[in-house]
Symmetry: C2
DNA sequence: ATAAATGCAAAATCTTTGCAGAGAC
DNA sequence: GTCTCTGCAAAGATTTTGCATTTAT
């Protein structure tokens, strides 16, 4: 019989960036929401703050956990509904790094891509302009205009290194 | 309220390549299984044939449907177990093109990538050596050895075109 | 003969949704 | 005041699994 780990649940204990509890001014994401005319409820403001503060690629459950930690007034269903809404509005990007759960990050950040450490699951972002040009050229060659592209490199940390940064989401 | 399509089920009516019903010789995938010492049951042989014949990126349910069409002796659970096994053995690659279901294709084919038509969901494969070199260089720069990488370009068909190829899996 | 594979149905996960009450504008 | 949002629990969708039985080697 198969011998994979039984549960798809993963250790999500990792870094939840220190909550900037400056409740006063609107978070960056909140401003974007307002720009697009979204009705700003307490829950949306809360989720917007969590997203604005996040420097990683949290999944819905992790967002929910962080939101609860800030202010215990939100349900998972609302988190799901909100990330979907924000994705539709172009404020969030949904990612799939192979863990079975969708993970989110604010749009923009410029075009960047991901290197996933196959051992720890940690995700490193990087930028490379050459890729974008190349991708655009290929799309054109095939008769398409590039709308978006994603590049994910799965790699193994080189031996000599000594940079035990904590994993973002171990597989 | 949200206005997304209710069901995640998708039209999967598209091309099921003409079944090479030459039951005699083992399919290509079956040979690979044997090479790796897998026990060859009727079901595995069947699934191996479906995979060998496939020229697209079917999901489990589609594989199941095609398998049933050839020979009505397999269950979905076995298809799931088999694709997982073959993925672990490096015979299949699992893909995610954003439809919520994993899709599979035989490994090898050489390093190739995908351009997804955002309107129809059709997937076009392409190769480009420059990408591989670039990806390798980037991994090295970050202190990693590249194990694998995936590149997906989402594009919109240019207007002037007139190539109404049928979608592989419309979103 | 033995260890592994299958089928079935139940369970696990992740995500969406219907509905009644609460809240933003 | 109206129209949207939220919470809850239930339903959906996809994938995994326990167990008794069958099967490949």
């Amino acid at each position: 019989m198969d011998t994979r780990p039984t549960s798809r649940r993963q250790d999500q204990s990792a870094k939840a960036p220190p909550a900037k509890t400056s409740r006063a001014e609107p978070s960056r994401i909140e401003r974007l929401c307002i720009e697009r005319g979204l009705k700003m409820t307490g829950q949306r403001r809360l989720i917007a703050r969590v997203l604005s503060d996040a420097e990683d690629h949290p999944d819905v459950e992790e967002l929910y956990r962080r939101a609860l930690a800030l202010d215990n007034k939100v349900s998972v269903a609302t988190v799901y509904r909100t990330v979907r809404l924000l994705e539709e509005k172009g404020i969030l990007d949904r990612r799939d790094f192979g863990g079975g759960r969708a993970r989110y990050e604010p749009t923009e950040h410029g075009q960047h891509h991901h290197l996933i450490d196959v051992e720890t699951g940690r995700v490193i972002e990087f930028v490379d302009e050459a890729f974008e040009r190349l991708a655009q050229a290929i799309a054109a060659r095939l008769g398409f205009s590039m709308v978006q592209f994603r590049l994910e490199i799965f790699g193994q940390r080189d031996a000599e290194e000594s940079n035990p940064a904590p994993p973002e989401a171990p597989r």
